[in-house]
Amino acid sequence: MNKILKLHDMLIRKEISAKELTQKYLSAIAADNPALNAYVKVTEEEAFTAADIADRKLAIGEVSDILAGIPMNLKDNISTKDLDTTCCSKILEGYKPIYDATVWQRLKVKDAVLLGKTNMDEFAMGCTSETSVFGGSKNPHNTDFVAGGSSGGSACAVSANLAVYALGSDTGGSVRQPAAFCGCVGFKPTYGAISRYGLIAFASSLDTVGVIAGGVEDTAIVFDKIAGFDPMDSTSKSDFAPCTFNLLKKDIKGRKIGIPNEFIDKADKEVKTAVLKAAKDFEDMGCEVEFFSMPTLIKALPAYYVIACAEASSNLGRYDGIRYGKREEHYESIHHMICKTRAENFGDEVKKRIMLGTFVLSEGYYDKYYAKAQSFRAQLRTQFDKVFEKYDALITPTSPKTAFKSAQVQEDKAGSFAADLCTVPANFAGLPAVSIPCGKCSRGLPIGLQIIGGKYKESLILNLAYKYEEARGSFYIKDMGVRL
C-alpha cells in the first residue's frame, strides 16, 4: 500500500507530528521485531533527531520535502556515518564508517527518518537472509518461512509495516526476491542509475541499490530522489534525471509485453498460474502479450555466479583486520593474523564464494570460466537489446517458488543458487526490473510478478507496475506494525 503522500499530507496538516510518527514505528518495532528479526540495529536517537528537525521545519512553514519525517530503514551494507554497518558479518562487528553512502546522504538532507539498519545475508550472499550472523529474518505472512534475501530484513520490515520504505541492494535478485516473498514492491533500476558509493561491495559490476516499498507510487518517489550521477561513482550515469513518479499514470494501452517461456516452465504451479493471470490482466488493460523463447536466459545463472564470485573474492580481500573491523588477537605473524581473522570471522557461504571466485580467476582457469562467462554476458546483452526492440517489457515470475521454509535452503546448496534463476538476468545485463505482488499461494505466501525493461526504461516499467497495482490491488498485511 502506498503511504508516502498520505503521511506527508498528514504531517503538513499537523494531524500527526514527525516525532509522533517516529514513535509509532519505534514502538511497533520494539513489539514485533523480536519475532521477525528484521532490524539488527534500531537507531532511536538518530530517528528522533531527524524527526525533530522535520517538525521544526514544518512548524515554521518551511517547504519540506515529501520524504521529510517519513520513517525508513537501510540494509546493513549501506554505509551510515558513525552508525554500525556490519553487512551482518562478524568481520565487520562494530565497524562504524566515517562517511555516509551517497544514497543515504541524499535522503538525509531531505530529513528522512532512519529507524535502523536491517538484517541481510552476510555480505549480501544468499537468498534467505539466513547466512546473517544475526540469524534469518522471518516472513511476516508466516514466520515458519523465510523473508528471502539478501535484503530480507528490509523487505520484512516494509511488509510488516515497520517502515514506510527501505533501501536495499540487488546483485542477483536481492531486492526483488525478498519483496516477492514478503508481498511488497522491490525495484532494481538500471546498473548505473543509482550511485554505489558507500554500498559495501559484493560484486561490483552487478551490485545495484534498490528500493523496497509498500506500493509502486512510493517506490517511484524514493527512486527519483536518490537516482542520478555521482562523481564519486565512475559507473553512475551522467545526464540522468528520472521523473518516474510523474509518468506512473500514463496510459499503457498498446504496450507490447513478452513472456519468456523458459521462466514460466521452471515455476511452481501456483506461481505459474498467478503470473499467467497477471498476463491476462495486462491484456485486459489493452496491452499485447506474447510468449516467446529465449533459451540463453537459463545459462545466465551459472555465468552470473562465476562473475559474482570472482568479483566478490577480490572485493572481500580488504577484510584483513588491519584497518577496520574485527582483528583476531593472538597471532605469530602478520600473515597469520590475516588468515586467522578471515577464517574465524567469515561465514561458510562467504568463504565458499571467495574460494570459487579465486578459483575461476586463477592461472589456467581464467579463460575457461571467467573469460567465458564475460563473453556470454556480452552475448546476452546483445540479445536483450534485440528483445527490447520488439517488446516494451517482459514479465516473468520473480522467483520460481514462494518463500522457503526456514533452514530448508541450508540443506540444498545447489538449490539455493537456482532460486535466483529469474532475477539474475536483469543484473547480468544491467537492466531495470521491478517485483510486485500478484497473488498468494495456498500457504498464504505472496507471489511476485517481475517486470523487466530495457536500459534506462525505469519510467516505463514502473508505469506498467503502477497500472497493474491499481487494477489488482495490493496484498499488504493489514494487522501488523503501524496501521494508518
Partner: protein, 467 residues
C-alpha cells in the same frame, strides 16, 4: 666471453597534486596517515575516480619516450595480499596499457626499446619499529607510471645512462621529480648472462633506489650468475634484493612462490578514451626536449656540442641561457660564463639542476653586453660575474663601486708614458726589432691599471708613443 642482457621496469611517481583515485594530497612526508581518505585507505563501500591529470602526465611521459598512445586503454585489478595494499588489489593496467612501442636513445646512438608504459596506484609504506609493524598509507594511491624496457641493455654503463636519461626526461617534462632517495623513482632490474646466442635465465633485482646501487648490484649479480654457470649449475629464476652494506644480492622468493595476480578488468572504472586530437594537444604542451634543444644550440647558437650538452642537461639552465642570450651578439659568451663561471660557483649537480641564483638572466645579459661593447674586458667580466653571484648586485652596480668602467684616454696616455720611462730596457729591445717586447710593456700597464685598461687599447697606445 659472457654477454649481459638486461631490461628495466621503472616506477615513476607522477607529481600531480592529488592522488590517482581520490583528492588526497600527494605531498611527500607529512604525519603518517594524514594524506588519507576512505578511498585511498580502501574502506568498505568506497570507489575510485580516475584523476585525469595523472593520465595526461602519463601520456606526456609516453610521448617524451617516443611511444604510441592507445586511443582506448583499460584499468585492471592486480590481486594480492600485503599489509601496505589497502584493497588487497592494486588498480593497474594489464593487457592494454596507455603507451607502447617507444625508445630511449643513448649517447652512442643505441636505442633502448620501451615495451610499454602504464598507469597504476602506489601502495603504502611499512615501517618496522621496536618489533612492531607500522603502516603509513600516505603513499597509497599516489599515481605511478611503470616504464618497461625491452631487454636491450647490455652493460652496466648502458644501464646507468638509461636510468639517467629517463630521469632527465621525466624531470624535463615536469611529470615527476624522480628523487630516487625519496622513492619517487624505483627500478626493478632484470638481468641474465650468456656465453652463447641463447638468452640465459634471468633474475630480478627489486626496488633499486640509486644509480650507484644499480651498478653495484648488476656487477655483483652478473659475476654471481657466471660463477653459477661455470660451476655447472643452473641459474634459478628468482626475485632478489640487494644488500647495500655487503654489496650482494640475496634471494627473496623463488618461482614456486610466484604470485598469481588473477588480473581482471576493473569493474569500478570506465575505459580510458583518448582521441588523436587530445594526444596532439598534449604533445603541443610538451616543452622542447633535450635532444631537440641540443641540435638547436649547436646550429642556431653555434655552440660546441660539449658546451651545448651541459646547457641542455637541466631545463632551468637551458631556460636561463636562452633568456640571457636573447639579443646578444655572441651567445657563446653567455654559454662560456654559465659553464665556466656559474657552474664552477654552484659546484654540485643538484645545485646546477636547481639553478637557484641571486641574479637574473637579464643581469647576465647586460654583463655580456658590456663586454661586447668593450666597456669591460673578459677577465674583469669574469670576476664581476663571480661577485654578482655572491652579492646579487648587478654589473652596473658593481662596476660603479669599483670604477671599472674603463680608464680615461688621458689616464691611459699618462700610464703608458710612465711605463715607457720606467722600463728602458724593454723599450730598447722593442726599438731594436723585438716586436714581442711590446707585450711585456702591456703587461706592466695592465698590472698598474689593476686590470681596468683594455689590453688592445694599451698596446695601440704604447706603439703610438714609441713611434
Amino acid at each position: 666471453m659472457y654477454k649481459m642482457t638486461s631490461g628495466f621496469e621503472t616506477h615513476v611517481e607522477l607529481k600531480t597534486s592529488t592522488k590517482i583515485f581520490c583528492t588526497c594530497s600527494t605531498e611527500f612526508g607529512g604525519e603518517p596517515n594524514s594524506h588519507c581518505c576512505p578511498v585511498c585507505v580502501g574502506m568498505p563501500g568506497t570507489l575510485p575516480s580516475l584523476n585525469k591529470r595523472a593520465v595526461e602526465f602519463a601520456v606526456k611521459a609516453g610521448l617524451a619516450l617516443n611511444c604510441k598512445i592507445s586511443n582506448v586503454s583499460y584499468m585492471d585489478r592486480k590481486n594480492y595480499s600485503y599489509p601496505d595494499l589497502p584493497k588487497a588489489y592494486q588498480i593497474s593496467q594489464f593487457d592494454v596499457p596507455l603507451c607502447y612501442d617507444g625508445f630511449v636513445e643513448l649517447s652512442g646512438g643505441k636505442k633502448i626499446g620501451i615495451t610499454r608504459i602504464h598507469v597504476e596506484e602506489d601502495a603504502g609504506k611499512l615501517i618496522h619499529k621496536n618489533g612492531e609493524i607500522l603502516i603509513d598509507y600516505n603513499r597509497a594511491g599516489v599515481p605511478l607510471i611503470e616504464i618497461v624496457s625491452e631487454p636491450h641493455i647490455s652493460s652496466v654503463e648502458e644501464a646507468k645512462e638509461y636510468v639517467e636519461k629517463l630521469r632527465q626526461l621525466m624531470r624535463y617534462i615536469g611529470v615527476s621529480d624522480c628523487r630516487m632517495q625519496e622513492g619517487s623513482m624505483r627500478c626493478d632490474v632484470n638481468i641474465s648472462v650468456s656465453a652463447t646466442d641463447t638468452l640465459g635465465t634471468r633474475t630480478e633485482i627489486k626496488n633499486m633506489n640509486s644509480i650507484a646501487n644499480i651498478a653495484k648490484a648488476m656487477e655483483y649479480e652478473a659475476k654471481r650468475q657466471i660463477n653459477v654457470i661455470e660451476s655447472g649449475s643452473n641459474v634459478l629464476q628468482e626475485t632478489l634484493g640487494f644488500d647495500e652494506k655487503s654489496g650482494k644480492t640475496y634471494s627473496m622468493r623463488s618461482k614456486e612462490d610466484a604470485d598469481d595476480y588473477r588480473f581482471f578488468r576493473e569493474p569500478d572504472l570506465l575505459p580510458i578514451h583518448i582521441s588523436d586530437s587530445d594526444i596532439e594537444k598534449i604533445r603541443q604542451s610538451l616543452p622542447e626536449l633535450p635532444h631537440k634543444k641540443l641540435k638547436r644550440y649547436t646550429t642556431e647558437f653555434e655552440l660546441e656540442e660539449r658546451e651545448a650538452r651541459l646547457l641542455v642537461k637541466y631545463p632551468k639552465v637551458a631556460e636561463f641561457f636562452e633568456n640571457a642570450a636573447k639579443g646578444v651578439k655572441y651567445p657563446k659568451k653567455v654559454a662560456n660564463f654559465i659553464v665556466g663561471v656559474i657552474f664552477a660557483f654552484l659546484k654540485s649537480e643538484t645545485l646546477k639542476e636547481e639553478f637557484d641564483l641571486k641574479i637574473t638572466p637579464e643581469d647576465l645579459k647586460s654583463l655580456v653586453l658590456l663586454l661586447e661593447n668593450g666597456k669591460v674586458n673578459h677577465n674583469k667580466a669574469k670576476t664581476t660575474l663571480e661577485q654578482m653571484l655572491l652579492s646579487g648586485k648587478n654589473a652596473q652596480e658593481l662596476l660603479a663601486d669599483d670604477d671599472l668602467s674603463g680608464i680615461s684616454e688621458a689616464d691611459l696616455e699618462s700610464l703608458c708614458a710612465s711605463t715607457i720611462e720606467t722600463n728602458p730596457k724593454i723599450v730598447a729591445d722593442y726599438k731594436g726589432g723585438k716586436d714581442k717586447a711590446i707585450m711585456a710593456l702591456v703587461g706592466v700597464v695592465m698590472r698598474e691599471s689593476k686590470g681596468r685598461a683594455d689590453a688592445n687599447k694599451v698596446k695601440e697606445k704604447l706603439i703610438e708613443l714609441l713611434k
